[in-house]
């Protein structure tokens, strides 16, 4: 891709981001931040790519840490968001601390994330 195409994508994505995020109510700003946080974990793809051409102990170590960091960002971010949002989904007045898990099978390594609160 040439630079101009990339810049076009960048600018359009920025406007899409502003348009979509502006509509999110304050109530959901913490989960929103945690979810966008998980989304920037996508840099992990960069880790996978540089691991492919890594050569020597230093580069392999860098790649390993980059992948591990990125994966923590992705997996932890989406799971923790899911935990928070589970508390908003619950609507009936009940005092139970746990909610039966909804389907969470579609995510990478995210099974069993709906353990409910642990206060």
């Amino acid at each position: 891709m040439d630079l101009v195409t990339e810049l076009t994508i960048f600018v359009l994505a920025a406007f899409v981001g502003f348009a979509v995020i502006s509509k999110v109510p304050t109530t959901l700003h913490t989960p929103l931040m945690s979810q966008t946080n998980a989304i920037h974990g996508i840099v992990m793809l960069g880790g996978l790519i540089v691991a492919g051409f890594a050569d020597g102990a230093l580069e392999l170590t860098i790649a390993f840490i980059a992948i591990a960091f990125g994966t923590i960002n992705i997996v932890g971010g989406f799971m923790v968001t899911d935990r928070m949002l589970s508390m908003f989904v619950r609507k009936r007045p009940n005092t139970e601390k746990t909610t039966p898990s909804a389907s969470s099978a579609s995510r990478p390594g995210a099974a069993g994330s709906d353990e409910g609160s642990d206060s």
Partner: protein, 466 residues
Amino acid sequence: MIAGVIEAGGDLSTILYIVSFSLFIFGLMQGTHPTTAKTGNLIAAGGMAIAVATTLLLDGIGNWGVTLSGLAVGTAVGVIASLRVQMTQMPQMVALYNGVGGGAVALIAWSEFRHAPVDFPLDEFIPVLFAAVIGSVSFWGSNIAFAKLQDLIPTKPLAVPGQQVINALLLLGLIVACVILASSDDPPEGLFIAVLVGAAILGNLVVLPIGGADMPVVISLLNAFTGLSAAAAGFALDNVALIVAGTLVGSSGTILTLEMATAMNRSVANILFAGFGGAPAAGAGTDEERPHTAIGAQDAAIKLAYADSVVIVPGYGLAVAQAQHAVKEMADELEKRGVDVNYAIHPVAGRMPGHMNVLLAEADVPYEKLREMEDINPELPRTDVAVVIGANDVTNPAAKNDPDSPIAGMPIIEVHEAQQVIVIKRSMSPGFAGIDNDLFYLDNTDMLFGDAKQVAGDIASEIGNL
């Protein structure tokens, strides 16, 4: 392994990346309502799964030992951390995840640099340098934010004399070093590492002087930074998924940062460089004792039980005391008696945007009861009792009435307009802004001293006994 099925940079991989970022955007669109947000998060996670799977199948992916062990370690740590974290600790968790994301960006930039072709084109080299600097700032800045929120280091502003000058010189030095690197035919790796280190020091120096109360803004801002650095990595790697996803996060973090700053009536620059949050203001009413009325849990229970409408104003003190469940109990007792109970949430209540809503949702407070500041303020004059729990500066009428107050102009929850006010607080000590709260001395204000959780529990049982 089955790597190499998909051609790197080919149409198929690009199309899969487009599917992936479309799911991110669609997922975020679902995030506009509490009932659909959970599904939205799963959709975005699905988009991420597609992006990761696509990349793993690209040709050129290799070193499987390192790749798979990195994935395994990251997954294990992520799963364990997110299951263990408590809702009150969410701000530091987000700070930590943000930090590792920034760290990954910086390391990827370093790798890219080491494998740069002899004639590294500027349209890739500049993004690499940008990613290195911002990623490193974000990693260290987030770690400091984490340490402050976790009370590992003092939350007070820590600053050295001439801090602004040092920061400015450091930033200038980083820019000069980047220009030298970009214009050199054979850029030395030592200088690149120096840039990474310099950015790390800058990240520390910028966040260390910021007080605990301003952390919501810092976390939002660092989130935006990490997003933009991910987008820069996308430019360097010609990866459309990284560009779009990183930019979305950049937009989101920017919006939240500006919203927080507006809610505090301060500019982002003021928050970052003034070291205001937590600095005790000199001569702020500690010498003169002004009269206030103190009451006990029983009196409070009577006032509340015979009211028609009650508005609860929770602040960070409620989160610290883990009082959300006790407060919900109190509200339940009141509702049993037919009292209308609502919660007024200031935009900066808690330690990150929307944090208080999460804590109350954890205690099963229906989200319809969580009212935003603009929405509830007009109703307060018709409210019988406003209960302020662990909140201070956001209820200080000086912000409206006293043009000389340090918080003048800050939007507040106008509890002083309510018929009666009960303030639950540990002592008369001032809040983060270090200024006295006129609210405490009003005729219709009663102070109830004690731990928020304890007091709310006491009131709940007193109401039950009436």
